[in-house]
Amino acid sequence: GGGEVTISHYFTGELGLKAFAEQVAKFEEATGIKMKDSPVGHEDFKTDILVRAAGHSLPDVFSYWAGARVAFIVKANSLAPLDDLWAKNNLDGVVSKTIAKSATIYDGKRFLIPFNYHYAGIFFNRKVLADAGVTEMPAKWEDFIALCKKLKEKGVTPIALGSKNRWPAQFWFDYLLLRTAGPEYRAKLMAGEASYDDAEVINAMKLWRDLLDVGFFVQNANADDWTDAADKVARGDAAMTLMGTWITGYWDGVGLKAGEDYDFFPFPSVKDGVPNAAVGPVDGLVMSANAKNPEGAQKFLSFMMTNADVQANWAKAQGALSANVNVDPKTYNVVMQKAAKTVSEAPTFAFNYDLATPPPVAEVGLSMFSRFIDDPSKLETVLKAVAPEAKKAFAE
């Protein structure tokens, strides 16, 4: 149809909004279809989209976080399956395999067009590490500990964390659990088939606690935003932070140079024999089940996905990686190229915690992390309390 397509998304902020609008404009120019755009800040987006769903008035297309959240609304019959679209546009050849496998299929059908994705790694200030005499990045847990010790001796706080909004802490849990208990156990835990007082969880958390106990983390992590943590690394007050690739967009924005000022290395392996999974969120576009203009919406989705130029520009503005394999890696900066490579080489791609487990459980877990960070000595009590709460949350 030639009518309007309504779209709602959480790409706000100065850069995000502008870049997204540019890409939408390209689509409009190319097809003559008008898009009706509705950007909402991403915290408010959650409320907004729920109200609209409850009001039976979802936009034709909207951005959403792949994983449990999409699964949740798929279960509520709010989304339209996109298998035809997928096949027609031969998206198998366009979308990165790892991402396609992990993010697009729910209940056996495709519901999400992965727009771009992020990868969480340990980003660091090159100069600080160089000053500490570090040349080789740690691949093993022991090396990582040694690195931290070295930094600490130099008077630099090894790890910055800004967990005010809770989610930045989750990557630590994700990686530690994935690296010790493996992706399968984690998937079970995320699905409610394992318990938070299992030994696997306790072990992972204990590793984390050890880091906290020896003061490798900045003080008052709960008081900082992730940007504050990024700033600390940028300033050199801290050396590294475990964060998504969007941090590159933020750093570029304040004038840091990729590869010169900052770089990253993947989360080290902890236990032998456990595959090195990559963690990160996938931003996707979905189509609502009651879309008023499904044809236009599908056109939009395929255009956005298949057009390499759009993908490249958009990924750059977001500091993200494109899910489109045809995007020339050279459009990324050096650090991002490295990240893309890491992901493509990773055996599995796992969603970060709050996208991997259903929202009610994620609430419980995220609260657990910040409670734990506030007082690591309470680990056992915290986990004991969380286990039944998580069970209850799964029940709902």
Binding site: T47, S78, K164, Q219, N222, A223, D228, P359, E363, S367
Partner: protein
């Protein structure tokens, strides 16, 4: 006359009651309907669960926590702006130089939106370079790095301070109004009877300000029951629910956990609490009316 009155009551009340009924009362009740279901907001299928949501409230630790926080919030948010507003009003009433400018300064925070207020106070409480720690460091002589908003013991109170900062101006203005309503001759009686400044305030002015106090308290209660925006912006109820209030809890359950049914049940309870408070308020109002009318 009565016939005429009846006619006009209907004419005059129809528009407001239509608007109020259609856009407030009806949505309110239709929202209450969901408190008997397990609706998640997205799904058009949901089940009727009777009073299950309400019995869940009884065992919900977070609800209890939020209820306690709301009570604390309400008490502090009533007491502090009321007393501070009264204090300011009394000072300003004594015809001090620049009273107009002072009034504007103290009222200024009300003009700011919760979005803005929340952001400013986050900056104030920032542990490393925030204003509060910077100032405290100068006083204490050592570097202060306390994370006011990140510690469960202080987060709620830190937000309340911001809240009080914003609300005091309103109490002040109401008290200033109340002060102008105190008959001059009662104050004159005080000087003739030999009341000291303090006696005049404690024995006469404050009791005579009771009608204003009732209004100030009512507004505080209303605003603190609603108290959501600023809290949501500053702590989001965190760290780990330590600063949840009932409104935040209701929001979390409904919109973050997608438990619309349970969230509605919480809002029903919230509404009942509000009704209880308001009828107490009205009873008080009648008493005040009888003495001061």
């Amino acid at each position: 006359m009565e016939r005429h009155n009846r006619f006009w009551r209907v004419i005059l009340l129809s528009p407001p009651f239509f608007v109020f009924g259609l856009f407030i009362i009806w949505p309110l009740f239709s929202s209450f309907y969901y408190s008997f279901t397990n609706w998640n907001g997205f799904d058009s299928n949901y089940d009727y669960v009777g009073f299950a949501n309400f019995s869940k409230i009884v065992t919900d630790q977070l609800f209890l926590n939020a209820a306690i926080n709301t009570t604390i919030w309400m008490i502090v948010a009533i007491v502090v702006p009321t007393l501070l507003g009264l204090f300011l009003a009394l000072l300003l009433d004594s015809k001090v130089t620049g009273a107009g400018a002072f009034k504007t300064i103290f009222y200024l925070p009300i003009c700011l939106s919760a979005v803005i207020v929340g952001q400013i106070w986050v900056w104030i409480y920032q542990p490393d370079w925030g204003l509060l720690n910077t100032l405290l460091s100068h006083v204490a002589g050592e570097r202060m790095r306390f994370a006011w908003l990140a510690k469960p013991d202080t987060a709620l109170y830190a937000v309340i301070v911001a809240w009080c900062w914003q609300q005091t101006g309103l109490s002040m203005v109401i008290y200033l109004a109340g002060l102008t309503a105190i008959p001059e001759d009662l104050i004159e009686v005080c000087s003739i009877e030999g009341a000291s400044r303090w006696q005049r305030i404690s024995h006469v002015i404050v009791p005579l300000l009771t009608p204003s106090t009732v209004v100030v308290i009512a507004l505080s209660v209303i605003n603190s029951l609603k108290g959501f925006d600023i809290l949501y912006i500053m702590t989001g109820g965190g760290p780990f629910n330590s600063s949840d209030t009932l409104a935040v809890h209701m929001y979390n359950e409904s919109f973050r956990k997608y438990l619309m049914g349970y969230g509605s049940a919480i809002s029903v309870v919230l509404f009942l609490i509000a009704l209880a408070i308001i009828s107490i308020y009205f009873r008080q109002l009648k008493k005040v009316d009888r003495i001061y009318g």
